[in-house]
């Protein structure tokens, strides 16, 4: 049932005791880093101020800016020689953010990922194909070590070369795949082009999807296309990577591993905790990381806690699917828009693919929003009226959703720019 029952079904009051202990230890270690050492001295902070988990609120927040400004070693609690691995963001503007791990951290991370995968149903009898970038991106090595720890046979397939991915699946009888959701649609087209039906011609039974915002509709469509259950994975490189929160067999939200991550949800404006069940910004404090602990790290991800106990018996609270980020929201004609809202509308149309691009431009002094979406090859009949009607219907529904009328432009399949890892969804070239 559980990978680590003594932790996974620990009642909340006891979990709080464990969290308070670990928080104290974490503060003790954090004080050794140049950044926190200086901050603690300035604010008179030390492990002794933590009597219970609620005392977390006495600590300042840490932001991505802090990580950038103290690049590369400002958060290290150990001499550089003590760290054994780093992962860093792909940022091309300014300093990237870098996270260091020592051997304890890597082992603890692998165990969290193993726990997550076990929670979704992966077992040591499975063949796990990890279709994502290895290297600096945490999804590759993170899932690799986690699935190995669990005992599955892991194929480090990495990203790309769709036909080869399919061949690997067939040669080794892959039962489980981790990848980003948008790739699964491409994979499915490749199956079709090869005259194969993944429902019949593979042994697939489990998908782990994450690293890219997606809707529940998208997940259901993936499940239908492949006849496979797909589980939502949540993580971020600042919190190791994958293995922060994961769905269990009930697919009703993501259990956040509270023994490893002290989790808060705050109002991003007032910085105060939101009432339970309300949406806000996720804030994490690492509770089991030695080389580079982070305290009250602001993720910019928006979500809420789901109430009630999960039938799976795990006591770790559940997070709702990430609804957006505090920073992918854009404002057009006075309306706040999340790309996810537009994606939700597009998901209702089988005539178009899930790749889309939102372009914001200034035309004759007016801000305009254009949604580019790829026409699915098989829906084309040569009828110009049908296509015009389709664009109009989509435009109308998007307008209902975001309150701004978009231009909807159908484009040729495969013509939208694809990016490795996370897809770029919004291009803003407006004149401010």
């Amino acid at each position: 049932m559980y990978w680590k029952p003594e932790i996974e079904i620990l009642p909340q009051p006891q979990l709080h005791v464990l969290q308070a202990q670990r928080l104290q230890d974490t503060l003790g270690r954090a004080a050794n880093s140049p950044f926190y050492g200086e901050q603690f001295r300035r604010h008179g902070i030390g492990p002794e101020i933590i009597k219970s988990v609620d005392d977390i609120r006495r600590l300042p927040f840490t932001t991505k800016e802090d990580l950038r400004n103290n690049f590369p070693y400002g958060f290290l609690t150990v001499p550089k020689q003590g760290a054994v691995r780093l992962h860093c963001s792909s940022g091309t503007t300014g300093n990237p953010t870098v996270i260091f791990h020592d051997n304890h951290d890597l082992s603890s991370w692998a165990d969290l990922v193993a726990r997550s995968l076990y929670c979704a149903g992966l077992r040591d009898t499975d063949v796990f194909q990890n279709i994502c970038g290895y290297g600096l991106f945490t999804g590759g090595l993170g899932f690799q070590y986690g699935a190995e720890r669990l005992g599955a046979l892991v194929i480090p397939a990495a990203a790309g070369n769709t036909r080869r991915q399919i061949k690997l699946m067939q040669d080794f009888g892959t039962t489980a795949v981790h990848t980003i959701p948008s790739y699964l649609f491409r994979l499915h087209s490749a199956f079709k082009e090869m005259g194969l039906d993944p429902r019949k011609d593979t042994s697939l039974k489990l998908f782990v999807i994450g690293a890219e915002p997606h809707t529940d509709e998208q997940r259901r469509r993936i499940e239908e296309l492949f006849g496979v259950r797909a589980f939502n994975s949540y993580g971020l490189s600042e919190m190791n990577g994958p293995g922060v929160a994961f769905e269990c067999e009930y697919q009703n939200g993501l259990h956040v591993w509270e023994d490893a991550f002290l989790t808060e949800i705050i109002d991003p404006d007032t910085l105060q905790p939101v009432p339970d069940g309300e949406e806000g910004e996720l804030v994490f404090t690492t509770l089991d990381r030695h080389a580079m602990p982070l305290l009250r790290y602001r993720t910019r991800d928006l979500t809420r806690f789901l109430s009630g106990d999960c039938p799976c018996g795990r006591t770790h609270r559940r997070l709702d699917r990430i609804s957006g980020r505090t920073d992918d929201m854009f404002i057009i004609k006075g309306c706040n828009v999340f790309p996810m809202q537009i994606e939700k509308v597009l998901m209702r149309y089988t005539e178009v693919s899930t790749d889309y691009l939102i372009e914001l431009e200034t035309v004759d002094g007016n801000d305009e929003i254009t949604v580019k979406v790829e026409l699915q090859k098989e829906w084309f009949t040569g009828n110009i009226e049908a296509l015009e009607k389709l664009s109009r219907r989509i435009a109308h529904e998007v307008r209902d959703e975001i309150l701004v009328s978009p231009n909807v432009r159908l484009v040729e399949p495969g013509s939208l720019p694809k990016t490795e890892g996370k897809a770029v969804r919004v291009i803003d070239s407006r004149i401010p």
Binding site: L375, K377, F380, G382, N383, I384, L387, E388, R409, L410
Partner: protein
């Protein structure tokens, strides 16, 4: 046998049409006639009358283009004033809407043909036949 044209979805962007003609050139497809209908929202449909529509459609599809075969009716017209008008009159009487139509003049400049894209090609063909208008069978169309 009903004749077919190849209809291709295209973005209205520099170089897109050329991508299509490149595929046709590489496959040795000969274009007899063409039209391009564009919508106001940045895309269009290219209609091609070619010598081997099946092959053309298949190759274009393999190259990633949304391409389909659409039924057409091809009529040969006498080169005289009013010929087109008389023929369209037949369709109007029958209440049939033309999605697209384009014409081309044959090699000897004596005869013109009209290619008509309508929803029910077979029905239209019958209307023409009963009115004594000559329609071209598919094999003749591809051999033009």
């Amino acid at each position: 046998m009903i004749a077919h044209q190849v209809s291709i979805f295209l973005e209205n962007k520099p170089g897109r049409l050329e991508k299509v003609t490149a595929v046709l050139k590489a496959t040795g497809i000969n274009i007899r006639a063409m039209t391009l209908s564009t919508s106001s929202s940045g895309w269009g449909i290219l209609n091609l009358l070619v010598d081997h529509p099946d092959t053309a459609c298949q190759k274009l599809s393999q190259a990633g283009h949304p391409a389909v075969l659409r039924e057409i009716v091809v009529v040969s017209m006498q080169d005289r004033a009013g010929a087109l008008h008389d023929m369209l009159g037949l369709l109007a009487q029958a209440g049939l809407n033309i999605q697209n139509a384009y014409g081309t003049v044959l090699g000897d400049n004596k005869e013109a043909i009209l290619i008509i894209d309508v929803e029910n090609a077979e029905h239209v063909q019958k209307i023409f036949e009963s009115a004594g208008v000559q329609t071209l069978p598919a094999e003749d169309v591809y051999r033009i």
